[in-house]
């Protein structure tokens, strides 16, 4: 059975209020910006966003910042949120300062370990490091256990992460609903661990990626993918080759520096396009 292909708004409707949602780190063409804007238009509330493991490249930072600024996010579990070399993510830092956002601080390999456990259906994963950090002290869900094979060796365990939804962008899917991600194993991991996988793609190509062994090595098989929306340019300001339109992110950063500027940006960049379409 091929993966259902839905309109963007129908895809967004699958993300329920209060859902836990994984998002990717944004060094590939993996940021579903158009979907995030559709979520803002829908007025989704109470999301628990989990960044895999950070949102600290320009486009990924911008997308998470935008969701936070628009009031969609109750808490965020992350190892880092920023606009990369452009600096801090303005709505994120503002929301933390105002006490409107719960931040669950993590470290990158702990997020990976949690996802890996989740992908295997295991309850937790052990991880070196962390002992003696305030990061561990503030994470009641991270525990320290005695290594059962070497008594006296203390080691941290982190709980499995099985998000309600994984959302990401990819350049292309095929007619079977397989999604090509190349060597980016992070989207594959997210798809293996989440309970529902929603993907936007620039285009759908005929045939099956599995007919070409080179392409087949970089595929999320269709059975992991619950629904696809075809959104050409759905990752903009991230291009298909992973390059980012920094001018666009800078413009966002300047606007989002103030409440008024952010409201204007939302009006022009998120709500106005829809008005234009329905007019």
């Amino acid at each position: 059975m091929p993966t259902p292909v839905l309109p963007l708004d129908a895809l967004a409707a699958q993300v329920r209020d209060g859902a836990s949602v994984t998002v990717q780190k944004g060094d590939e063409a993996d940021v579903p910006m158009a979907l995030a804007k559709a979520l803002v238009r829908r007025g989704v509330r109470g999301l628990h966003v989990i960044t895999l493991p950070t949102a600290a490249y320009p486009a990924s930072g911008m997308m998470v910042d935008l969701l936070i600024g628009a009031g969609c996010v109750e808490s965020v579990e992350t190892s880092g949120i920023s606009l990369h070399e452009l600096g801090a993510a303005p709505r994120f830092t503002q929301a933390v300062k105002a006490g409107r956002l719960k931040v669950v601080d993590a470290t990158c390999p702990a997020v990976y370990a949690g996802l890996q456990a989740g992908a295997k259906g295991q309850p937790f994963a052990p991880l070196r490091g962390l002992i003696g950090s305030d990061l561990l002290r503030h994470r009641s869900d991270y525990r320290v256990i005695d290594n059962p094979y070497t008594p006296g060796d203390r080691i941290v365990v982190v709980p499995a992460i099985n998000a309600d939804v994984a959302i990401f962008h990819a350049t292309r899917a095929d007619a079977e609903g397989n999604v090509w991600v190349g060597r980016d194993r992070d989207r594959l991991l997210a798809a293996h661990a989440a309970n529902t996988v929603l993907v936007t793609v620039d285009r759908v190509v005929p045939g099956s990626f599995f007919d070409d062994p080179v392409l087949g090595a970089g595929v999320i098989p269709a059975p992991y993918v619950d629904a696809i929306a075809i959104v050409p340019g759905g990752g903009v300001p991230l291009a298909a080759d992973g390059g980012v339109d920094l001018a666009e992110v800078r413009r966002y950063q300047r606007s989002a520096a103030s409440d008024e500027g952010f409201a204007a940006w939302l009006r022009d960049e998120v709500f106005a396009p829809e008005t234009a379409l329905t007019a």
Binding site: K25, D27, L52, P53, T54, A56, T78, S79, G80, I81, S82, H84, E85, A88, A89, F92, T93, V96, K97, G99, K102, V103, D105, A106, T107, C108, P109, A110, Y112, Q116, L127, R128, G129, L130, I131, G132, S133, D134, L135, L136, H138, G152, D153, R154, I155, R183, D184, R185, D186, L188, L189
Partner: protein, 252 residues
């Protein structure tokens, strides 16, 4: 534009110091937002003549991974990453680093981006080089407000890794793992021990006469302004243009 005869820029001095700390390393990895460490690692690799692997996040040329972002951490856990770089909004005299923010967590007064991989890599990478290009009492403090990653661990905790040095815009500190303290190893040209003392918020050791940090010699400057500039421009074009000059950075 910097010809090879032009005097070294500060960033070239720091990169040269970093290269010196990487002698003998088989695999050095460079994380996010680390152009100077990247240049230092590439210089070290040039000096090592093909015996050193350099991995740089955000690079195409130096990013030979096929198992996602987890692979760096997995390999480091196996002892396959010999050196890494960390910084902090605050670094204290025990080598604790803070990448989260100032004030009483979680109601931080200033919120930074987050701890990234520090709480793990600091434990498992044998040579972690700390860097901070603003050497002040604001950044180098007696006690960090939040420990993203501790400088040292209690006996019995698995900890093959940790800090070996802290490079700033004023000086090079070594780190005494047993005592959990920094000691002043050299002061950069144009600066003094007194200045370092004035600008440092933590207590550190000074052992006798403190030498001046050696400036990069002609060979190192030629490597920095040639192959290193070409490679770093592919990752940090703005940085490469500023430090090595626009023509030189674009020349490769």
């Amino acid at each position: 534009m910097n010809g090879s005869a032009a005097p070294p820029r500060p960033e070239e001095l720091y990169a040269s110091v970093i290269a010196g700390l990487l002698a003998g390393v088989r695999h050095v990895a460079v994380g996010m937002l680390s152009p100077v460490p990247g240049a230092g690692a590439l210089l070290a690799a040039e000096l090592a003549g093909g015996t050193m692997r350099v991995s740089i996040l955000g690079s195409h040329e130096h990013n030979r991974w096929t198992n996602g972002g987890a692979e760096l951490f997995d390999l480091a856990g196996r002892g396959g990453v010999d050196a890494f770089f960390l910084s902090g909004g605050q670094i204290d005299g025990h080598g604790n680093i803070n990448l989260v923010g100032t004030g009483a967590y979680p109601a931080t007064e200033v919120r930074w981006s987050g701890s990234f991989g520090s709480a793990y890599l600091y434990f498992v990478v044998p040579r972690v080089i700390l860097f901070r290009w603003e050497h002040s009492r604001r950044t180098l403090v007696e006690q960090v407000d939040f420990v993203s990653a501790p400088g040292r661990s209690e006996p019995g905790i698995f900890r093959p890794g940790g800090p070996i040095a802290l490079v700033t815009n004023l000086c090079l500190f070594g780190y005494d793992k047993a005592r959990g303290r920094f000691q002043l190893r050299s002061v950069h040209p144009g600066h003094t021990v007194e200045e370092v003392r004035d600008q440092t918020g933590f207590d550190f050791d000074v052992d006798g006469e403190v030498p001046t940090t050696p400036a990069p010699d002609a060979e190192r400057l030629a490597l920095l302004r040639g192959p290193v500039a070409r490679q770093i421009a592919g990752i940090y074009p703005a940085f490469a243009g500023k430090v090595f000059g626009p023509l030189r950075a674009a020349a490769g």
